[in-house]
């Protein structure tokens, strides 16, 4: 499996601490993302955003979380045979994971290049497929991790700290 890691400057220790963390998340959410259903895609991000807003998360942090999770949801709907979004909310951060049912990303390095897209005509007609989804997720995350290969499921996770 090919793998891509991004950790924002200054977050290396924080992310390592998170990986060794034993405590459970305070809230866990799970949403199904059906294939090519662009009306359903986004529901998970929308509910997550509303919940975090009620919890008092700063509006700029909230915008970053909403954009990253919506881009990832659209990616799963546009490029996979469907998948699931899992959100784990801790007191200091959010950890969001996306697991789909393939068919996987042939070249992750290429997929990370802004402007590169494999989106089909339907997706492009909707105004997606600019090749900016993964770069936008990276840009808004404190850490992002992508694992995939052609013919396999894709796993994407990102972490965003609340302060």
């Amino acid at each position: 499996m090919a793998e891509y890691w991004f950790i924002a400057d200054g977050f290396e220790d924080k992310v390592r601490n998170f990986q060794n963390r034993k405590s459970e998340a305070e809230v866990n959410l799970e949403f199904a993302i059906p294939e090519k259903d662009f009306n359903s895609a986004g529901k998970g991000s929308s509910e997550l955003k509303n919940l975090l807003k009620r919890l008092g998360v700063d509006s700029e942090i909230l915008r970053r979380i909403a954009v990253a999770s919506y881009e990832a949801e659209i990616n799963v709907a546009a490029h996979s045979q469907g998948g699931t979004m899992y959100s784990a909310i801790y007191d200091d951060l959010i950890h969001v994971r996306f697991e789909d049912q393939g068919p996987g990303i042939a070249d992750i390095e290429q997929a990370m290049v802004p402007g590169f897209s494999t989106a089909n005509d339907l997706v492009r007609e909707l105004g997606f497929g600019a090749g900016l989804g993964l770069p936008n997720i990276k840009k808004n995350s404190d850490a992002m991790h992508l694992v995939s290969e052609s013919g396999s499921a894709t796993f994407l996770e990102f972490i965003i700290y609340f302060a």
Partner: protein
């Protein structure tokens, strides 16, 4: 900074969401684009979004980005379900007969007068 109602009259726009008061929305600029990821990557919460796209995902993009108002160019107007969703998300929808160039130019002049 200007208020949306001032811009609304300058572009001879129609408020498609009359339940939302354009007197209460402040604008410091706009982002113009039809590629949703480009808008999500660059639009700011105090900007209007000027576009010709009018399907349901436009509302989600505005909501995720925090954009308070969408200006539909060239007389475009979304259908009822999209307007309902915008009301739910408190996003003001405006339709104008002008194209994106003119809509941008008018806003630029109002902001810099």
């Amino acid at each position: 900074m200007i208020i949306l109602s001032e811009y609304l009259s300058a572009i001879e726009g129609k408020n498609l969401t009359p339940a939302l008061d354009p007197d209460k929305i402040e604008l410091r600029g706009a982002y113009v684009g039809d590629m949703l990821s480009d808008v999500m990557g660059s639009a700011k919460p105090d900007q209007a979004w000027i576009t010709i796209m009018k399907h349901m995902n436009v509302i989600a993009v505005a909501s995720m980005t925090g954009v308070p108002a969408i200006i539909f160019a060239k007389g475009n107007a979304p259908d009822e379900a999209v307007i309902d969703k915008a009301l739910e998300e408190s996003i003001c929808l405006i339709s104008s007969k002008y194209d994106t160039f003119k809509l941008s130019g008018i806003l630029y002049m109002l902001l810099n007068k």
